[in-house]
């Protein structure tokens, strides 16, 4: 830890720790999950740090979709605060990390176009990216046509990636090649961005971002193999050769048809119950993903112990906040549909049933 790092990270460290203290605890989640319906859930949520966001809409407008849209604003605000107060050499990386939400927006817009959804329906599904965004989302949705929407991306970082994939979209009339191209391009660039960070920050960033990349890469490989029945060469081309704990040989093994539970147990020896979860690969994959997310959650909490002046603090907080909001969205939809806890708890990063 250098004295420069102290000076660079002092301000952001303090701010992030304050924000970290406002994250919901397990007890908060238990209390929220024990509410009987959506209105009581929202009333309780208003007493937390999400209150100011929910107050932006009238009570009668607060359905699950609208509430989810409003609470996502918290992460957008957090990103903007953290990026503004971060040292310059870290800003571009954090911006790139933030851009994952824009990539997800782009995929949502393309899906909206193919399902012929109106702008009014699509806009509340999107992440409130704010002024840093480059996507003309409304114009894209209103073009009503994927090719025209992609043309509107000319001049943005996404145009080149998508233009390579457009021939396949035109032939197959399927968004799959477009979405895969976007994902691969994003994570490849993010991984390259880690290498440009100062050495100390690289370790922390690799731990957090690398874990996320590993999780995605692993899930892609397994899904392409199990759900989509893709061939070995296709699985390899649709995944990345880089990672933190998962290496290319692991991905190639999965692609070649090796025993998936064995590979996972080898990579994550501390992961409990892998064999039981993956008895049925089709139903077990979402559970595996949740286990991996919880593992990442622990890593993110761990970075708050030890050296406070490093990139892991803001990264860890942002990942935790993202998972928290995703859990809240699951709860919102569960309460709207009056789903019992047994049916939705497995989709939560926060383990309510242990």
């Amino acid at each position: 830890m250098t004295s420069n790092a102290t000076a660079d990270y002092a301000a952001i460290n303090a701010r992030v720790r304050v924000k970290y203290s406002t994250l919901l605890s397990r007890n908060d989640f238990i209390a929220l999950s024990e509410t009987t319906d959506l209105p009581s859930f929202i009333n309780l949520l208003k007493t937390t740090s999400y209150g100011p966001y929910l107050e932006l809409a009238k009570d009668k407008e607060l359905n699950a979709r609208r509430a989810a849209f409003l609470i996502r604003q918290r992460i957008s605000d957090s990103y903007h605060t953290i990026i503004n107060f971060s040292p310059d050499f870290v800003k571009s990386f954090l911006l790139e990390f933030y851009r994952l939400n824009e990539v997800n927006n782009l995929k949502a817009v393309l899906r909206g176009i193919t399902t012929q959804s109106s702008w009014d329906k699509v806009r509340f599904v999107l992440f409130p990216f704010g002024p840093d965004g480059v996507l003309p989302t409304q114009a894209m949705v209103e073009s009503g046509n994927v090719a025209q929407a992609v043309e509107l991306l000319r001049g943005t970082p996404y145009f080149k990636t998508l233009s390579f994939a457009m021939n396949r979209y035109s032939a197959e009339q399927n968004l799959f090649p477009l979405e895969v191209a976007l994902d691969l391009d994003y994570w490849r660039n993010l991984w390259k961005g880690i290498k440009k960070l100062p050495n100390e920050d690289q370790d922390y960033a690799t731990k957090i971002v690398g874990s996320l990349l590993d999780m995605n890469n692993l899930m892609w490989a397994i899904r392409y193999r199990v759900y989509h029945n893709l061939s070995e060469e296709e699985v390899i081309n649709y995944t990345l050769p880089v990672g933190y704990q998962i290496h290319d040989k692991d991905i190639r093994s999965i692609a070649a048809g090796a025993d998936i539970p064995q590979i996972i147990k080898r990579i994550y020896p501390d992961l409990q119950g892998v064999d039981d979860i993956l008895l049925d690969l089709h139903t077990g994959l979402p559970k595996l993903e949740m286990l991996l997310e919880r593992r990442i959650t622990e890593k993110c909490r761990d970075v708050f112990l030890g050296n406070p002046f490093q990139i892991g603090i803001p990264l860890g907080f942002l990942v935790l906040l993202d998972f928290e909001i995703r859990d809240l969205v699951v709860l919102l939809e569960a309460k709207a549909g009056l789903t019992p806890i047994e049916k939705y708890s497995e989709f939560l990063t926060t383990d309510l049933l242990k």
């Binding site: 021939n167 396949r168 090649p177 191209a181 061939s231 060469e233 296709e234 081309n237 050769p241």
Partner: protein, 652 residues
């Protein structure tokens, strides 16, 4: 002048042998308008109607084909020399000529079209192989290889390594030929046995294959050169193919143009004949003729054959008829104003032609609002330049040019009355008044003028109704005698009460107003009584009373609004004088010493006033004419007189 031209209905029975001569005689003079009496068939389903229908269809098809040929030959549309003809062109004869030329032309045109398509395909190929031109390798030798499958294409540069990894389990060769701006041109090869693996890997790596064109060999640069040469060859071939086209055009242009017009004339003739009624050996032609041309037409027909029977019926104006076609007949000076009337509606046969009224009122109203000697003369100049065609830019005025001249003359006259020249209000003495100095006076005068004009409108309406013996509406409609009676009573009562200095007696006007109100209130009852409709009150007495109250309210409001509407004439007269004043002020701000800047601003102001304000004043005048004036008496609904003509130029 005050009525549309007098019309006579004519019925002609002509033998079949004289059919064409009769048709020709009826057309061309512009005096006969045909009525469709096709329903008068002696024998339904007879073969004869089909004969003319078939001919009409055949001429229509021939006309289309010939137009297409002339377009292909790039022949400019022009009118051939007018020639007399006594018969329609034979369909078979025309068809033979068209078939022959079409065959010659079509072959060449098809060849040109094919060459153009070929050029487009070659240009697409050029675009595709453009990324490869720097690669010095002959890929065509491996295109039809028996044991190896190759793919040449472009892919994202960052996917190359991954593609290599994905193909690790099969023997293969992947060579990056070039890499520019994140795009890599690669050549991929593996055995035919592993074709599916190769293609799946290539597709999942987003490799876009480039197809090399058939029939070309060598390196991409050599292929590109060959393709470019092929394009030049094709373009040269097109130029050569155009030569026989030019030759055919030279040889056949006159013949084909005249043939086209013959076919068009024949088509028009058969269309006219289709509207005739048919008896067994004779045809019935019904239509309308200008009454003063009936004898001329009769003589012309009798000269064709004494077997032609003619019966005529002059039409009186005492009935409200929509059937009689209308042709306005005004002196040359008034004819431009027919356009203003026609834009609103065509008068019915029994209605007064409002053209003379419009010819007086329109320029008068315009001149009142736009009174300035200089501006008026500018309008006269613009109208004259447009009329004579001396300045092309003013040609857009078209038929409005004489109206602009008339308005300009009136504006000039009022310019002298107002003492205004080019916006200078006191450069010349006002023969009457300065509008800006006597605002109330001009406003009152224009309202009084509006009352006079509206009264004139009511009187014309009453006259029209009396002419057609519509007694009920003439007396009791809102624009009839009782309506104008109430209007004048209200004006008199208003003046008597508001301006006692005029010494008008109040009581008589109050009594006449009451009579007028009762008359208007019971107008519907009286009209139904006179016309013999029962019951006299429709829908119950309560409903009727409410209806009467609202109708009276509407009547009073319309009297007031119509009368006050004319105050805009005075307002514009005041505004016109002040508008140019604004530009004088701006000019002094730009250049207090009245130098170049001042006069430039003055010029700009003049252009603005003449162009923009002139347009607005014209629109206001039109509004007053159409809504306030025409609304009182002009119903329209007449059918325009369309003379039978077998000349294509009249029908295009």
């Amino acid at each position: 002048m005050f009525y549309p031209q007098e019309m006579t209905e004519i019925e002609i029975i002509a033998p079949a042998k004289d059919l064409l001569s009769v048709t020709k005689a009826l057309s061309g003079q512009g005096i006969f308008s045909q009525t469709d009496v096709n329903y008068l068939n002696a024998e339904k389903g007879s073969q004869q109607p089909n004969q003319w229908q078939e001919k009409a269809t055949a001429y229509s098809a021939l006309e289309r084909r010939l137009q297409s040929i002339l377009t292909s030959l790039d022949v400019q549309k022009k009118n051939p020399s007018i020639k007399e003809y006594d018969s329609i062109i034979e369909v078979d004869k025309a068809k033979a000529i068209v078939d022959e030329v079409e065959k010659k032309v079509k072959e060449i045109i098809d060849q040109i079209s094919n060459e153009n398509k070929h050029i487009e395909r070659l240009k697409t190929i050029l675009l595709q192989i453009e990324p490869l031109v720097d690669i010095d390798a002959d890929f065509t030798t491996l295109q039809n290889a028996k044991y190896i499958h190759t793919i040449l294409g472009i892919m994202p540069g960052e996917n190359v390594d991954r593609l290599k990894t994905s193909l690790a389990r099969i023997p293969h060769e992947l060579i990056t030929l070039t890499q520019k701006q994140q795009k890599a041109v690669v050549w991929l090869a593996a055995s035919q046995d592993n074709l599916d693996v190769l293609e799946r890997a290539a597709k999942s790596a987003y490799l876009d294959p480039i197809s090399l064109p058939d029939g070309y060999s060598g390196t991409p640069a050599e292929i590109s050169k060959s393709v470019k040469q092929s394009i030049l060859d094709a373009e040269s071939k097109i130029e050569k193919l155009k030569e026989p086209i030019a030759q055919i055009r030279l040889e056949k242009e006159k013949e084909l143009t005249e043939l086209l017009w013959d076919i068009k004339c024949s088509h028009l003739t058969t269309n006219a004949i289709l509207k005739f009624g048919r008896l067994k050996y004779t045809y019935i032609v019904v239509g309308w003729v200008f009454s003063n041309h009936v004898d001329f037409l009769k003589e012309k027909l009798k000269n064709i054959s004494q077997d032609i029977l003619i019966e005529t019926r002059a039409t009186k104006r005492d009935k409200d008829s929509h059937e009689v076609p209308i042709s306005l007949s005004n002196p040359k000076l008034l004819r431009p104003f027919q356009m203003l009337v026609g834009n609103y509606a065509e008068p019915k046969y029994s209605e007064l032609d409002p053209t003379p009224l419009v010819a007086i009122l329109f320029p008068l109203l315009f001149g009142t609002m736009f009174g300035d000697v200089g501006h008026g003369l500018i309008l006269v100049l613009i109208g004259w330049l447009s009329l004579t065609g001396k300045v092309k830019i003013f040609k857009f005025l078209g038929g409005l040019a004489p109206i602009v001249i008339a308005c300009g003359i009136m504006s000039t006259i009022f310019g002298f009355l107002y003492g205004s020249i080019m916006g200078f209000e006191h450069a010349i003495p006002a023969l009457w008044l300065h509008p800006a100095d006597e605002i109330m006076t001009i406003l009152i005068i224009t309202i009084v003028g509006g009352v006079v004009v509206l009264s004139l409108g009511y009187i014309i309406n009453i006259f029209n109704l009396l002419k057609v013996k519509d007694w009920a509406n003439a007396f009791f409609s809102h624009n009839g005698i009782i309506g104008v009676f109430l209007y004048w009573s209200l004006i008199g009562m208003g003046l008597a009460l508001a301006m006692p200095q005029f010494g008008l007696p109040t009581l008589p006007f109050i009594i006449s107003t009451i009579i007028g109100v009762i008359g208007i209130g019971l107008s519907e009852v009286f009209i139904r009584l006179i016309e013999g409709h029962r019951p006299l009150i429709d829908g119950g007495i309560g409903t009727y009373i409410v209806q009467v109250v609202f109708e009276l309210l509407e009547t009073f409001i319309s009297y007031l609004s119509n009368s006050l509407s004319f105050v805009r004439v005075g307002a514009f007269a005041v505004a016109h004088s002040n508008l140019i004043g604004v530009f004088f002020i701006l000019g002094e701000m730009v250049n207090p010493g009245k130098g170049i800047g001042y006069w430039l601003m003055f010029l700009l102001g003049t252009v603005f006033v003449v162009g923009f304000e002139g347009l607005i004043v014209g629109i206001q005048t039109m509004r007053l004419t159409y809504y306030e004036i025409f609304g009182k008496f002009f119903n329209g609904g007449g059918k325009k007189f369309e003379p039978l003509s077998l000349r294509p130029i009249d029908n295009d």
